[in-house]
């Protein structure tokens, strides 16, 4: 196990370097004048130009630029907002809210997704199965921001069951609607994946053996069936953290949840690209670290992975 963790940590280093390099490259080395891009085409004032040049070391050769930027990242320097606040501070202030939203969405996704998936697989062809297949298809084809407006309008405004915007009512009341919308797409995938994987396991020999031995149905399902079916689901859930991070930008903007996503949404609309780059970098780093944690946990849950 120790060797496995060390190997995963070592593999993390090139991915971390590569991904941050990629972000930097996408912003500063593509053809075109980065300063013009960062000011959204407005004529840049000399002070801003000097600031960008200094902040991103644009006078240095490209590799030196990147190394200096990397040094900044490692010491927690993500640049400054237009009002002079440090981006790292803004991030630290707002991240707990995003984390809370993402965690709530993750909970909904896991509980409802796996629960309904198991139900649909056990009663294959039944009402729950057919309804959930149709429902997931609809959710997959409706873009998340459209779903957000529709849900906000129906449950927040028309029916008035839950607050349509803001987090004034605290957790969980204010978080239910946005978390549900954020979770919806992944929920659909988790449901389908659980159902399919469970159906495949049901047809295997050891399941028949378990039934022939006279084990109670619940034990067969949970110990024999689900444990062996959840591996692809866990893989998906790990990769899904990215979708939650990306989705939070749109959801927090629409539901006015004061997290990192809302700041990002506002900065995009204001054309504050420097802030955008800083916040996205921070989100991506957190995503990479979460992936690393999931990877290690995964080796713990499924011993076969360790001996690859």
């Amino acid at each position: 196990m120790g060797r496995f963790i060390v190997r995963r940590l070592l593999q993390f280093i090139p991915v971390f370097l590569g991904t941050t390099f990629l972000i930097y490259f996408l912003v500063f080395a593509l053809p075109g004048d980065p300063i013009a891009g960062l000011t959204a085409g407005k004529p840049a004032n000399p002070a801003f130009e000097a600031y960008i040049t200094e902040q991103y070391h644009l006078d240095d050769p490209f590799l030196v630029q990147y190394l200096k930027y990397l040094g900044g990242l490692l010491t927690g320097d993500l640049g400054q907002t237009f009002s002079g606040q440090s981006v790292a501070e803004v991030f630290a202030e707002r991240f707990p809210v995003t984390l809370q939203l993402a965690a709530t969405a993750f909970l909904i996704e896991v509980v409802l997704g796996i629960g309904l998936g198991v139900w649909a697989a056990r009663r294959r062809g039944g009402i729950v199965d057919n309804l959930s297949l149709a429902g997931t298809l609809i959710v997959i084809s409706i873009p998340v921001f459209v779903l957000a407006y529709v849900v906000q309008y129906i449950f927040g405004v028309k029916l008035g069951w839950l607050p349509p915007t803001g987090i004034a009512k605290g957790w969980p009341v204010s978080y239910i609607l946005p978390a549900f919308v954020l979770a919806a797409l992944s929920l659909a995938y988790v449901l389908r994946l659980t159902r399919q994987s469970l159906l495949e396991t049901f047809s295997l020999d050891f399941m028949r053996t378990a039934r022939a031995k006279g084990l109670p149905g619940g034990r067969i399902l949970w110990r024999h069936g689900l444990r062996n079916s959840l591996i692809p689901v866990v893989t998906f859930l790990g990769a899904d953290l990215a979708a939650l991070m990306g989705g939070a930008v749109v959801i927090e903007g629409i539901f006015n949840i004061p997290g990192v996503g809302q700041q990002l949404y506002a900065s995009i609309r204001l054309g504050e690209a420097v802030v955008v780059v800083g916040l996205v970098t921070a989100l991506v780093i957190i995503y990479l670290i979460m992936n690393l944690v999931v990877d290690v946990l995964y080796g713990y849950l499924d011993p076969r992975i360790r001996y690859e």
Partner: protein
């Protein structure tokens, strides 16, 4: 019968029992024609194609711009009526005409994105899988790095710095960040195909690497590759809408379903039709591609035919 060649006899006998060898795509088509899901998606896609190819037949382009006198501010936010089937937006433009003419940029992004990402993914996956060794090692690490940057977040950074006109910014994002799934798919099929007997036989007969790759190995990936391309086409249409919604995709005076939804958000509660019509068309288009992908997957996968 005595004057027919053995081959012709075989075909005749085959026709009698309805079992003529049809090849992969012929086989898939034979199956598809019997699939309800396929026909639903085909009908939807027919209308999408009409809107993309000949929007002028369905609605007058002049109704989409105030420069041509098509939009009157005095008509602002009118509910759907005989004159304006889908109502009017804040500028007084006809939502029906905007929706019809907004299809082309949205779908173009999807088509270009799917073609480009599939091509890049196929080349990377083929080279990595076929040569193996250090080439595969390097390419797989590069894939890992791109995998570490979520499409939405990476796209936000890239589009904030890059100012490409119209749909090209979003297409560039997809080309840079969207090819990873295709590369992974083609790599795994290539590794499988490389050690098949027919590949070894072809190599023994003196076939070169290029011939092996393109004649013997790549065709194995056509089925799953096609399915992935069709499904990502739908997803990319939604991605374009998301970026345009954030104000990073298509910018005025250009418009697409995404920009229409973005414009509609501030007036959604008083004039829901401004959002629901473009959102509905967008969702149905995405749905059509997902259904087509599902139907194609069922008929291209030989293993599924036995079970179904």
């Amino acid at each position: 019968m005595s004057d027919t060649t053995p081959d012709a006899e075989l075909v005749l006998a085959g026709e009698e029992i309805g079992d003529v060898p049809r090849g992969l795509l012929g086989d898939a088509w034979y199956d598809l024609r019997r699939s309800v899901v396929f026909w639903i998606s085909a009908v939807l896609l027919f209308f999408v194609a009409l809107m993309v190819l000949v929007p002028g037949l369905l609605a007058d382009i002049e109704l989409t711009s105030s420069l041509t006198g098509g939009c009157q501010l005095s008509d602002s936010l009118q509910a759907p009526s005989a004159e304006h089937w889908f109502g009017t937006d804040r500028q007084g433009c006809d939502v029906y005409a905007l929706t019809i003419h907004g299809a082309r940029p949205s779908v173009m992004v999807g088509v270009l994105g799917a073609v480009i990402t599939t091509a890049i993914g196929a080349v990377v996956g083929l080279v990595a899988g076929f040569y193996g060794g250090w080439i595969d090692g390097v390419l797989s690490r590069i894939v890992d790095i791109f995998y570490g940057l979520p499409l939405l977040l990476g796209g936000i950074v890239m589009l904030s710095a890059l100012s490409l006109p119209g749909i090209w910014g979003v297409v560039a994002v997809l080309a840079v960040l969207g090819w990873v799934p295709a590369a992974r798919l083609v790599r795994s099929t290539t590794i499988e195909g490389r050690s098949q007997e027919y590949t070894l036989a072809a190599r023994a007969l003196g076939a070169g690497n290029g011939r092996l790759m393109f004649r013997h190995i790549l065709p194995n990936a056509i089925g799953p590759g096609l399915v992935l391309a069709v499904i990502s086409l739908g997803a990319f249409v939604a991605v374009e809408a998301t970026f345009s919604f954030l104000g990073l995709g298509i910018r005025p005076p250009g418009f697409s379903w995404g920009t229409m939804i973005s414009d509609a958000q501030s007036v959604f509660f008083q004039a829901p039709w401004t959002l629901l019509f473009p959102a509905g068309f967008l969702s149905l288009t995405v749905l059509a591609f997902i259904l087509l992908g599902d139907a194609a997957r069922d008929s291209l996968d030989p293993r599924r035919q036995q079970g179904a």
